[in-house]
């Protein structure tokens, strides 16, 4: 488990906090992340996502991050922690579609990438990884 991110993440220029679209297929929740993960967005994501996971008794969650252009270590840790929360509710978590520039940056900064059950290229692969 990683240490909690310290401090608040400042807002960039967003007013709308709807962080993601959540869709559910066969008890797998797909969270499509489309915007910078500020503190408020992360909190909203957690509230919505965990409620959905609980509601549908999800067996898996896919974080689709393909459309994120940038992800800094703080954002990545926030995502890891959200994954830990989901796993506490008994669902597995797969990270799908990390863009190459993000991977490169995280690797350069030596970020610990643990905390996900699998990391795959596409949502399709993620659904396969979650099986059944």
């Amino acid at each position: 488990m990683t240490a909690p991110p310290s401090g608040e993440r400042p807002e960039r220029n967003h007013v709308d906090l709807t962080p993601t679209s959540l869709s559910t297929i066969d008890r797998v929740v797909i969270a499509t992340l489309t915007r910078d993960l500020t503190s408020a967005v992360v909190q909203r994501l957690r509230d919505d996502l965990l409620a959905r996971v609980h509601e549908v008794r999800a067996r898996g969650v896919v974080f689709d991050v393909a459309s994120l252009y940038l992800m800094d270590p703080w954002e990545f840790r926030a995502l890891q922690q959200t994954a830990a929360m989901v796993r506490l509710l008994g669902a597995r978590v797969v990270l799908a579609g990390l863009p190459p520039q993000v991977v490169e940056a995280l690797a350069a900064l030596d970020v610990d990438t643990a905390g996900f059950d699998a990391t795959v290229a596409t949502v399709h692969d993620a659904l396969q990884a979650l099986g059944r």
């Binding site: 488990m1 240490a3 909690p4 957690r46 509230d47 965990l50 409620a51 996971v53 609980h54 008794r57 922690q81 959200t82 830990a84 929360m85 989901v86 796993r87 506490l88 509710l89 008994g90 669902a91």
Partner: protein, 345 residues
């Protein structure tokens, strides 16, 4: 309503209040045997007569003035009580507590005695004990403090406005009235103190019974045990859980233990550590532990507090945990399509 239907003897109920009230409170340890730690102040620690007189500065002059007033008012006590009960019968509590005419007569005679003792203005241990008993009884029967305050206020105004014959000079009357009020405040203080004491004991009792609630480890299926954890998990409760779970695992040789924590009211580092400890212990007995009933809020709390639950298997619902448990012991649940409808006559 300074009196009520039945006045239990204080020795049966309050743990000896009369014998100890003449001394300032000293070490009270001898009175705490068998009580929940920190929950109660023994009655011996409540204010005694001497302290009350000091605190309210009830002087010899006050005493004389109350007696003087008493000499005027006491002969009319029947008028007073009649008026008082007329008022009381209009109160919402009346039907609840005084519906029985026998009880009403009993309370009325107790009240006559109360006011007689009041107008002696002899604030001694017996005086205090008597009023304390009033507070205890009120608390026991659930007569509220606001109702008691209202009745004391009504009593005072009845004495001063209705019964008093107006034969004192205004200055004398004012002084008497001041002293009577002071003594009424002393009475009220005693009653409220005893009342709160009883309520505190009740609360402490409830807290104790919640903590002492049994930990019913149930065999849900062959090889599957289940325990719903409800309420507060402190180290003592965790120990109870640990002991009963391990005993049951040893008895039944269960292979899966489901601990459902949906009824746990507070989750913090300490509680989580207690629970993780239980899961570790069951694993040592060869029994896998599944934690079910994690709410989204609790999941967030656990991660935000940085609590490491290690290898514990957690599930959102008991249903998921049960499915998981069946999987682990190689049992498959399937629908047969047959449904039993209705009940036999």
């Amino acid at each position: 309503m300074p009196h009520s239907a039945h006045a239990p003897h204080p020795h049966e109920t309050a743990g000896g209040s009369a014998d100890s009230s003449s001394h300032p409170p000293t070490g009270s340890d001898s009175h705490r045997t068998g009580t929940w730690p920190g929950s109660e102040v023994p009655f011996s620690a409540l204010a005694n007569a001497y302290q009350l007189i000091e605190r309210h500065q009830f002087t010899e002059v006050d005493r004389e003035l109350v007696r003087k007033m008493g000499a005027i008012l006491n002969p009319h006590i029947d008028d007073f009580l009649t008026a008082f009960y007329v008022w009381l019968s209009g109160q919402p509590e009346y039907d609840l507590f005084f519906a029985d005419p026998g009880r009403l007569a009993r309370v009325r005679s107790l009240q006559a005695a109360y006011w007689r003792s009041f107008f002696t203005a002899e604030v001694d241990d017996e005086y205090v004990r008597y009023r304390r008993e009033v507070g205890i009884v009120h608390a026991r029967i659930g007569l509220s403090l606001p109702a008691y305050f209202a009745s004391m206020d009504k009593g005072l105004s009845l004495w001063m406005d209705e019964v008093y014959d107006g034969n004192l000079t205004p200055a004398q009357f004012l002084a008497c009235q001041r002293s009577v009020t002071k003594l009424i405040h002393i009475d009220t203080a005693i009653v409220v103190e005893a009342y709160s004491q009883v309520i505190n004991e009740k609360i402490a009792d409830q807290a104790r019974s919640i903590l002492e609630m049994s930990t019913p480890v149930t065999a849900l299926w062959e090889d599957i045990l289940m325990l719903p954890v409800v309420g507060i998990v402190d180290s003592r409760r965790a120990q109870d859980i640990m002991r009963s779970v391990l005993t049951r695992i040893a008895e039944t040789r269960a292979r899966v233990f489901i601990m459902d924590i949906s009824g746990v009211s507070v989750m913090d580092t300490a509680v989580a550590n207690h629970l993780v400890k239980v899961t570790r212990a069951t694993r040592l007995m060869g029994c896998e532990c599944l934690l079910s009933g994690l709410s989204p809020a609790i999941a967030q709390t656990i991660v935000e507090l940085g609590i490491d639950v290690g290898k514990v298997h957690t599930r959102a619902t008991l249903r998921d945990a049960l499915e998981d448990a069946f999987g682990r012991i190689g049992i498959e649940i399937r629908k047969t399509g047959e449904i039993v409808r209705g009940g036999a006559l």
